[in-house]
């Protein structure tokens, strides 16, 4: 049996054992950083799901002028029919709209009951084909149609959708920036922890080089130690975010159902989980190799 892999693992475990506190401190710091990032990602994932679900329900309502001419009406209908992204066109006359409206609000509002005339216009409800560009298509078409003669106004909840989208862009940017800052911060933490680990075993490492150890032999246990710090921090953070997710689901089930309208409050997506773990691996290797290289390159000073 070749001792190489066994020795690396043994040496790594012995390093960790002799610098237990330092190792745990580094894991804890990485865990906190990953957890904070994980919570923001959890928020992002669910808001994104919410936005997508809203996106599916968005329809464009085109309100017509009361005095619209038949030719203009036909022209508008032609525009609807010539757009292949529109799935369905439903015409709702002002009388039908008023009937629907009164049916919904007559018993609930004295004001509605007291109205003696119909204030609602004729309208078209347009449903667009689903796809990633759905909102853009609605936006583009509404821009085109709103200036047509006979069109009073268009409505698809543009203001709040735009605000929500902007918030999502900000959140994505914030998570990315925050992630990059934490990425370098965590590399620094692991690098320093490995540096301290090296200095606490300096005599042993010095002796290794004098006895003919290769750089690889000295470096691999240090890399494994850094790798373990990064991966342990990442895995623990995923567990803690899962616990937070379960807590939110059980504690706020009623509120979530009303906000998410039948959608489930989701845990992190697989790509995010893989990214967290691979980031743990990368920061572990980068942090430890920078310290190990720095130390080994300084060996045998002139």
């Amino acid at each position: 049996m070749n001792l190489f892999p066994f020795n690396f693992v043994k040496s790594t475990l012995s390093n960790i054992k002799s610098n237990k506190q330092l190792f745990l401190l580094s894991v804890a710091t990485n865990f906190i950083a990953f957890t904070v990032l994980g919570i923001f990602s959890l928020l992002f994932v669910n808001l994104d799901i919410l936005l997508s679900s809203w996106d599916k329900h968005i329809q464009l309502i085109v309100y017509l002028d009361d005095k619209i001419s038949n030719s203009n009406k036909k022209k508008i209908e032609l525009l609807f029919n010539s757009n292949n992204k529109i799935n369905s066109i439903i015409f709702i006359s002002r009388n039908q709209a008023w009937k629907n409206f009164r049916g919904k609000f007559y018993s609930k509002s004295k004001f509605v009951a007291s109205l003696k005339f119909n204030p609602l216009p004729d309208s078209y409800t347009l449903r667009f084909a689903s796809g990633p560009d759905r909102l853009k298509n609605i936006r583009d078409f509404s821009e085109k149609i709103k200036n047509e003669k006979g069109v009073e106004s268009v409505e698809y909840g543009e203001k709040w959708i735009s605000r929500f989208e902007q918030f999502m862009i900000f959140l994505r940017g914030f998570i990315l920036t925050f992630g990059v800052v934490l990425f370098f911060g965590m590399i620094l933490i692991i690098s320093n922890s490995i540096k301290l680990s090296i200095y606490s075993r300096k005599d042993e490492i010095d002796l290794m080089t004098l006895l003919g150890a290769t750089h690889q032999f000295i470096k691999i246990p240090l890399l494994l130690e850094g790798l373990l710090q990064g991966v342990a921090g990442a895995l623990l953070s995923l567990i803690s975010v899962k616990l937070i997710h379960l807590y939110i689901v059980f504690r706020f089930q009623g509120s979530l159902e009303s906000i998410f309208r039948g959608l489930e409050f989701q845990y992190l997506t697989n790509p995010i989980i893989y990214s967290v773990i691979s980031t743990g691996v990368i920061i572990g290797i980068l942090g430890s190799s920078s310290s190990a290289n720095q130390f080994l390159d300084r060996r045998n000073p002139e």
Partner: protein, 218 residues
């Protein structure tokens, strides 16, 4: 085994430590490197071992051009040379057996070889009974014998011993010297840096005499 040509070494380019040193040592020789404290014995050893760099000259150890080695392939030289340190350099948390086996593990030997070679090396230096002791439980002489066992366990062609009896009394020094003679009889080249009177007067041997960084006798 060793060829040194016009070797110069200084610290910071100002303080000369070794000046125009040239000598040859054949395979299987037993050589004493002598000189007063500060003559440059330890520095010469460190240079031969690739522990310190030198300014000018050529050094060949077992066919390896020491000046051409970089940090990453220095191990090739160090595996050819067993070094015995004056301060033993034993790992205090490891037993005698583990300290000797450590040198074997570093070169990637398999478990069976580690056990056999470590056992043989300990037998060679007469420390089998102490294999489970820790360095702090050993006398100075015993610690030096562990250091010698560690130096020979990888079967190097050359042993460099820097003041191996420096911290030991004369009786133990003779035992250590006898040990080196035994190793030499097995065909190893031995160079001992010393200014110990016991070692120098023991037997007629080849001397390299250093004085203030210059080789007076080779």
């Amino acid at each position: 085994m060793i060829k040194v040509f016009n070797l110069y070494k200084s610290y910071g380019g100002i303080t000369p430590v070794l000046m125009d040193i040239s000598f040859d040592i054949q395979d299987g020789e037993f050589v004493l490197l002598t000189g007063q404290s500060g003559a440059g014995k330890t520095t010469l050893f460190k240079v031969l071992f690739g522990w310190e760099k030198f300014d000018r000259g050529q050094i060949l150890v077992g066919g390896i051009n020491v000046g051409k080695l970089n940090e990453k392939n220095l191990y090739q030289l160090r595996r050819k040379v067993g070094f015995v340190f004056q301060d033993y350099k034993l790992l205090v948390k490891k037993t005698v057996f583990e300290n000797v086996a450590f040198a074997q593990q570093i070169v990637g030997a398999n478990m069976k070889t580690v056990r056999t070679k470590t056992w043989n090396a300990l037998k060679n230096v007469g420390l089998v009974k102490k294999k489970d002791s820790y360095p702090s439980q050993l006398s100075g002489g015993e610690q030096q014998r562990v250091s010698i066992a560690r130096a020979i366990v990888n079967d190097p062609e050359l042993i460099l011993a820097d003041e191996p009896t420096g911290n030991l009394d004369s009786e133990i020094s003779k035992e250590i010297l006898a040990l080196f003679e035994k190793i030499n009889e097995q065909g190893k080249t031995i160079i001992i840096a010393t200014h110990s009177a016991e070692i120098l007067s023991e037997k007629e041997r080849r001397h390299l005499l250093l004085k203030r960084g210059k080789l007076l006798q080779s």
